[in-house]
Point group: D2
Chain length 338, copies 4
C-alpha cells in the first residue's frame, strides 16, 4: 500500500499514521519527495481500510500494490480450480462446457422438448429461468417453483444438470435441493446478503458480472462467497454497459485471459445477453472459445419468435449444433475440446 | 409503439403480428416506406413485451413512444407528490430537507453527539448506516440492530426522524418498526425481491439510483414499489459510474429537472457518495439546491479523520452549518427555503 | 423517420411541419394515439435534420428508421468491398492480413530488422508510427519525415506495403507519395477537415474507431471519406473507453459481425492498443479471427523492454509467428486463411 | 513515481532499472514487500515515460504520485489566471461572464438581431458557429468566412467580443485576425497539431473537454497550448458521454471545484450542448453558477424552432434574460456577480 502525504503535513500527523500502521503489524518506509512524502506499507494490508487513511486531510492519495482478494487470488493458489456440476467438470483443461436452454421456462412439455434438442446439439447443462428479474413490474416474472420442477423433470429424462438464477436468499433451500449450479444474476452481483448466504451453500455458483462492475469488484464478489466457505465459484461475463447502441451490452472478452491470470476460477461467457441479438451469438461464441473460455451459456429455443422473453437473442437448436461443431474445431486448435 | 419491419417480410408474418396486436385491443396503422414498412401501435402498450416482437426475424426494430411507467408518470398525475417522513414534508414547494449523519453508526454516544450537532446545524433528518454494503468481505459491515437502536435513542432525545439503508427483505420488519425513511442502496436498485417487499410496506422509501442505471430504469424501480401499493417514493441521485478518475462517481444533476418533468416524485441529491471527497460537497450541494433539489443527504462526522468508513467524504457539523446557510439563500432565489 | 408530437400541439403547428416535409418530397402518415400523435415520414430522409424538427416545442421526440449513411450501407451495396493496399487484398473472403511493426519508428537499422522479422513471421504489411499523437507535450512525438523514410527503405528491401498514421491534412502530400495505407487515429476520427481531405485522396484509409464513438458515428466518419469520392475505407476497432481498469480499453469484438452486416467495408482489429498489454494480444487476436476479422494490426518489437513508446503492449516476432500459426488454423475453421 | 516489481525479478533487471533512473537525475528508494518490491522515484518525473518502464516483463505496475502537468498546475502557480478577452475579464473573482448566440451563424441580419438581443439580456460575449463539425457529411457545415464576417459586423455595432470554433490550423490566420476567443471543440480536444498551432497564437483559447476525456487528459491538452507559449487558456465543460439516454450528454459540474484546485485556469460551463434540451438550460446554468463557474456559454436564438442547427437546445433572449437575473442573485450568495 502506498500513501502519498502532502508536503506540509505536520510531523505529529505523520507519526500518528505511522504509529497506527505499525500497531497493525505493518512495516512502513518513508520516501521524501520534492512536493510530496510517500510511505510504502508492507505486510497483510487486506484488512487496512484505505478510505479511513484517505480521510486524513493531509493525505493526498492512497493506492494498493497487492490485490484486495486472497481466496480467489492465483498468487496464493496457482493450480486451476475445476468445478464439478452434477458430474460435469468445468475449468482447467477440461472440455469447454455448453449450457443451453430458454430464457424463461414455459411449461413441462416445452422444457422436455428443448432439453432433448440441446442435448442432441451437444449441450451438457440445461439452463432455464424460473425466477426472472424484469425491469418492468408489468412483465412476466417467471413460473417460479413450477418452472424449477419442469427442469427437474427434464433432468430425470435427459440427465442434464440444471443451472438457474436465484434472486433471493429466501429461495436458497429450494435451489439447494433441485438446482445443480446456482446463478447469481448481473443485477445481484453486489447483493451482499445473497452472496453471504451462498458462501454457506454446498452448491456451485455461477457468478455473473454486474453490468458496470470492474473485474476487481467482480472478483471481490467471488471472494465474498469463498470467504464464507464455498470455493466452487464460476465467473460469467455477460456484457457490460457502454454508450454503444447497436448492441444491448458490450461483450468484454479480455476477461478470459485476465480472470485466468488474476484468479484460479473457471470463466464462462454468455454471448446471448451480452449482444441481445441471435445473429451475433455464433461469432461471439467462437471468439470466446478461441480466447480460452471454459464454457458458454447460450439461450436456445425451439421457436425463438414465440419465446416468452428475450426471443431476439435466442438461437435454434440447429444453430446451436452448428456453432458447437465449429467451436469444437477451434477449441482443438488451442489444445482444448468441447 | 413503433415496429419497423424489413421490406421483404412475407405478408403472412405481417398479418400475424397485426392480428396479435389487435387481439390485445390495440390499433395498428401501417406506413409503407421504400426500404422498410413501419407500423404504429396505439393503445395501452405497457403490457406489450417488445422483446417478443423484436424476436421475429422479419422485424428490424421496435421502439416505444409512450413511457413504460404509469404510476410514477407526471402525465397521469400532474400534481407533485409530497412525502411525509415522520412529520417532515419532502417535495413540491416544501422546504429543502437536509438529511445528515455518519456513514456508519459507531455506538450510542457518538450517535447522540452527531445527532445533536447536525440538528443544531439545521438538518431535519438523521442519516446513519447500520447495515453496510461493502465491496470487501473483510471490511467492517456495520453494527446491525445495535446501530439501529443507537439511532432510535438519538431520535428520542433530538426528535430527528431516521433514514437508514435496508439490504434484505428479511430485515424489513425491523425497519418498519424503527426507521422513518427506508433507503434502498444503489447496488440494490434492481433487487426486485426487495422492491416487491417495499411495495407492501407503509413506510416511505428513499430509492437511490444504481451506479449505471438509466433514469428510465430508475423510474421503473420506483414503479415496482408503487405498483405494489406504496406510493411514498423519494428518488435519490448519488452519482453514476463513468471513465473519470478524479471523482469516485460523476454527479448527474440533470436528474433534478428531468425527474420533476417525467414523474411527480421528490428528488434528493447525495453529494457525499457522488464525489467521494468532502472538499467537493459544498459546491455540489449549492448546485443541487440551485437546480431545484427537494433535499440533500450529506455525510457528516464530528471527526472525519477517524470515521469507521468513508471518512474522506464526510464534512464536519461546522461545514454543514455554513453550507446550509449559503444553501438557504440560494433556495430563496428560486422561490424555496431550507 | 418517426416524429412524435405532444397531444396538445395546435393544428397550425402540425400542418406547418407536414407542409415542410411534403415540400421536401417526403410522404407523411399520421397515427392518432391517446397521449401523442405520431407521424411516419417516408422518402430520402438523410437530408432532413432531425434536430431542427426536435426544436419545435410541440415535438416530443424524433427517431430514424433508416440508417443515416448511404455510401457505406450494405443495403445499397450488397457485395463486399475488397481494398487493395499495394497489392495486398483486404476484405471479402481474402486471406486475413496481418499488419505488424513498432509503435514508433526508431531509426533505419531497427526498422530494417523489425521489417525482416515480421515478414518472416507472416505479416504482410509493415506498420510504424512516424507522427505520434501523445497525451503529454513532453513525450516523444515521433521521427516525422525521417520515420516515414525509414519505412520506405524497409519496403524497398522487404516489399511490405506501409501503414502509418496521418495527424494533419498538411502532411497528406507526403503520405500520398510514400504510404500505402493511411491511418486515421482514434483521436482524429471526427477531425472532419482531415476526413474531407482524405475523401479527395487516392490512397486507401484505415479508419480507427474513436475511443468513445458509437459504431454509427464511426460509419458516418467513413461516409465522410466516401462522400468525398474515396471508397477505399477499412474500419479498425482499437478498443473503447469504459470504467474497467485492468485493461487500457475494452476491445469490442461485436463490431466484426455488425460492420459486416451494416456496411460492405473490411474490418481490422488492433488488439495491442485495445488491451495495452502484450500478454492479452494472442488470445484477443485469435478471438478476432474466429469472429471473422479481415485483418489484425499488431505492435511488434524486437526488444519490447526498450521500445520508445508503448512497449508494454508489444509482442516479439517469435510471439507473432506463433500467434499467426494458431490464427491460420482458426481462420480455416471458418472458411478463411491467413 | 511508484514502480511495483514482481518478487521474482532478477537482481540484474532491478539494478538496470535503478541505473536508468539515477542516470536521469532521479532518486530511487526500495521497499521490500512480501509479494512485490516497490521502488519510489523522486525528482522531476514528468519526462519519464511510464510506458517504457511498464514494458519490462518484471514490472507489475507503474503509477505517478505527481501530476503530469506543470504549466497548468496550481501547485506551481497559486494565483488565479484571469484571461482578458477583448476587454472582458474571465476568472478569479471577476464577474461571471455570459457568452450567448446561435449555434450556427445564419446571415448578417439575423446575427445583428441576436447580438442586440443577447447584449440587452446581459451577455458580454457573442458566440456563433461559422465552421461547424457535423456528424453527417450531408448536414449543413456552416457559412465559413461569411459567417465570421457576420459576427465581425455585429461586433462593430454592439461591441461584444466574438467566440467561435476553429476546426483546422489552416484557418488560424483568419481567427487570429477576427475572433477574440478561439474555441477548440470537444472532438478536437486531442487534435495535437491544432493544439500546437494554438500554442504559438496570441489569442486566448476556449478549450472544450472531449466527450469522453478524463479531466487529466483535458488539463494535458491545456498543457500542450501552454507549453507552446500561450497561457491564456479557458477550460469549458460541455458534458461527457455516458449510458444515459434522457440527455444528450451528462453535464459534470464537479469539474468546477476540481479544475480550480488542480489548475489556476478559468472554467466555463456549456449547458446547451451538455443537455441538448433548452428546458434543462436554466436549472443547469444556475447550478453551475452556484458551484463557482467563471462563465457560461449558452445557445440563444430569436426563433429556436427555425434554427439551422441544434434548435432543440436554444433558449430565447427572454429566457436568457430571466436566467441571468436569477443567476446574478445566486452569484452574489457566493461572493461573485454577473
Amino acid at each position: 500500500m502506498i500513501i502519498t502525504m502532502k508536503k506540509d503535513a505536520p510531523e505529529s500527523e505523520i507519526q500518528a499514521i505511522i504509529g497506527n500502521l505499525t500497531d497493525m503489524g505493518l512495516k512502513v518506509t518513508v520516501i521524501q519527495g520534492s512536493d510530496y512524502n510517500v510511505f510504502g506499507v508492507v505486510g497483510d494490508t487486506t484488512r487496512v481500510d484505505e478510505k479511513i487513511i484517505a480521510a486524513n486531510p493531509h493525505v493526498d492519495h492512497v493506492s494498493r500494490v497487492a490485490a484486495p482478494f486472497k481466496k480467489a487470488n492465483r498468487l496464493f493458489h496457482p493450480q486451476d480450480t475445476i468445478v464439478d456440476v452434477g458430474g460435469v467438470k468445468i475449468g482447467g483443461k477440461e472440455k469447454v462446457v455448453i449450457m443451453a436452454g430458454p430464457c424463461s421456462i414455459e411449461g413441462e412439455e416445452p422444457t422436455q422438448a428443448i432439453a432433448k434438442a440441446v442435448k442432441e446439439a451437444g449441450a451438457r447443462l440445461l439452463r432455464g429461468g424460473a425466477y426472472k428479474p424484469r425491469t418492468s413490474p408489468y412483465a412476466f416474472q417467471g413460473l417460479g417453483t413450477e418452472g424449477i420442477q419442469c427442469m427437474v423433470k427434464a433432468k430425470e429424462v435427459f440427465g442434464l444438470p440444471i443451472v438457474s438464477e436465484l434472486m433471493s436468499e429466501n429461495k436458497l433451500a429450494e435451489f439447494e435441493e433441485y438446482v445443480d449450479l446456482i446463478q447469481v444474476g448481473a443485477r445481484n452481483m453486489q447483493n451482499f446478503e445473497l452472496l453471504n448466504a451462498l458462501g454457506k451453500s454446498s452448491k456451485p455458483v455461477l457468478l455473473k458480472r454486474g453490468l458496470s462492475n470492474t473485474m476487481e469488484e467482480w472478483i471481490m464478489a467471488a471472494e465474498y462467497i469463498m470467504a464464507g466457505g464455498n470455493e466452487n465459484v464460476i465467473m460469467c461475463e455477460r456484457g457490460i454497459r457502454t454508450f454503444e447502441k447497436y448492441t444491448r451490452n458490450t461483450l468484454d472478452l479480455s476477461v478470459i485471459p485476465i480472470i485466468k491470470t488474476k484468479t484460479h476460477l473457471p470463466i464462462v461467457i454468455d454471448p446471448s445477453h451480452a449482444t441481445g441479438d441471435s445473429k451475433l451469438v455464433e461469432s461471439m461464441s467462437l471468439a470466446a472459445i478461441a480466447a480460452g473460455a471454459d464454457g458458454l451459456i447460450i439461450e436456445t429455443h425451439n421457436n425463438p419468435k414465440c419465446a416468452w422473453s428475450d426471443g431476439a437473442q435466442c438461437v435454434t437448436p440447429e444453430e446451436l449444433k452448428e456453432l458447437i461443431e465449429k467451436g469444437r474445431k477451434i477449441a482443438q486448435v488451442i489444445g482444448r475440446d468441447i
